[in-house]
């Protein structure tokens, strides 16, 4: 038996999420094979060196845009002798894995954060406000992995064998048009090491730019609370919280955010939390490692200025 990991890449590097999924797969102990879609020589060379990977399946055919309809059958083809199929729990894995799992009549296990044994996994529910331990009775387990919960696999000593994998067909019902990735020099919210978030205390859409110099200095992503989004300060994709994005950076700075449950659910797994708020009784201070009470319009410029 083997474990198939679906790899993602940006054309030059294997994604961090994939490397975390490999680390998770190693905990089960079976042979690990990697399926690389949209491969380049550079990615394959790097993937070959990942310690613990036995085989790399390459793919060809209609892979454009990674359409779930075209790729799901191809994954099943590569998973014929697999006990588990893993992917990262990013939007690619979330889109494709349930389709693959249903085609195999298996109940997928989403977003695992711990492996107990080869059948038993821990996963967050209620946006991480509870942890559920589940035991699967399915023959093949289809699993997405929360990348913040597992270290990236080391990529130095491996020597995987390259196997020419199956060919993806064209389904005729869906087609890829284009991808518009944010041009921002800032990191993506869910992948950022540091997140600077603003809440209703920021006061207006115009004021929100007060966070920019700080985010630039720290190389941080910018997020927002639902209250700030609902007030129209920033677009919805900034939202951190139960109905927005769940983040777990090294450092989360909550600015003018009171700390509604819905927001805390999206950021409370951050390693260090800083809260800056003028209301010293704001609930955010109860979970913040460091709180600073005061006027954000004075504190933020000073902070941006003094951080080297």
């Amino acid at each position: 038996m083997s474990i198939l990991v679906i790899a993602e890449s940006n054309g030059t590097e294997v994604d961090r999420g994939t490397l975390s999924a490999i680390t998770a797969a190693k905990k089960i102990g079976n042979e690990i094979n990697l399926l690389i879609l949209e491969e380049t020589e550079e990615v394959i060379n790097k993937a070959q060196k990942i310690k613990g990977v036995s085989k790399i399946f390459t793919a060809s055919g209609d892979l454009e845009g990674g359409l779930a309809e075209n790729i799901a059958p191809l994954i099943l083809e590569c998973a014929k002798d697999a006990s588990h199929v893993f992917s990262s729990a990013g939007t690619f894995g979330k889109n494709i894995m349930p389709r693959v799992s249903a085609l195999n009549d298996s109940q997928q296990i989403s977003d695992i954060c711990e492996i107990v044994d080869s059948d038993t996994f821990v996963r967050p529910i209620y946006a991480g406000n509870a942890l559920e331990t589940v035991k699967s009775s399915d023959k093949v387990k289809f699993i997405t992995v929360r990348s913040t919960a597992f270290e990236a696999a080391n990529d130095e000593e491996g020597n995987a064998e390259i196997v020419t994998g199956p060919v993806a067909g064209t389904n005729g019902k869906s087609s890829f048009v284009r991808r518009d990735l944010s041009e921002s020099d800032r990191p993506e919210l869910t992948a950022a090491k540091i997140v600077v978030s603003g809440g209703r205390g920021i006061g207006s859409a115009d004021n929100f730019s007060i966070l920019d110099p700080l985010a630039d200095k720290l190389g941080a992503a910018v997020g927002a609370s639902r209250a700030a989004v609902d007030a129209g300060y920033v677009p919805n994709d900034y939202q951190v919280g139960q109905t927005g994005k769940v983040v777990a950076p090294e450092l989360y700075i909550a600015i003018g955010i009171s700390g509604a449950i819905q927001h805390l659910a999206g950021m409370k797994d951050s390693k260090t939390i800083v809260a800056i708020n003028k209301d010293e009784d704001a609930p955010i201070f109860q979970i913040a490692d460091y709180g600073l009470v005061g006027d954000l319009f004075e504190i933020i410029p000073e902070l941006s200025d003094k951080i080297k």
Partner: protein
Amino acid sequence: MKILVPVKRVIDYNVKIRVNSEGTAVEKNNVKMSMNPFDEIAVEEAVRMKESGLAEEVIIASIGDKGSQETIRTAFAMGGDRGIHIVNELNTEPLAVAKILKNIVEKESADLVIMGKQAIDDDSNQTGQMLAALLSWPQATFASKLELNDNDLKVIREIDGGLETLNVKLPCIVTTDLRLNEPRYASLPNIMKAKKKEIIEIPIAETGVDFTSRLEVLKVEEPAARSGGRKVEDVDELIDVLKNEAGVI
């Protein structure tokens, strides 16, 4: 065109959940319940399509306990036309839900299913994609914009780091992301009208679908609580602790 919108009754997103004393589930007794927020967006989108003449009927389906009828009525008050309630007192896993929805889609000859990308209770994010697989329909997940031209649906989807545009042919499955629309508040006359709309009730055992759980829940626990921190005096102290104590900048 007929649109099917499945909706789930979940603990309201503003409620701080508690794990029960046995450590087997999240406590649902005496807790405020409401429609899954992503499903509200799905209902809104379907109703807008009907209002703009693109669809004739919006069918609401829900799988769950008796309370689910209240959630179906909430969808009625937003503009849903009629409802199907599959009664199951226990939790139904996404794969079984997808199988039940497949039967409903086929029986009702729905052309489009719009549903939330995930429920905020189990956070699975699976049912739409599974339903698409079982029906061999195309899927457009995490949609933030829909544009229908005859049988072609142009969908902008939210992906990590940006947006993606797909064209999918009807019939298809769409799952909603937050930016798709802002759901309306139901007006009082519409809430009154919703009381008269029809809901068909079907016990889950009569659906012909194997709804046995594949995942056994061994335990549910609260994550380790964060130890309360402390206040710092000023910006200089904040920078100092972040550098020298936390080591994060």
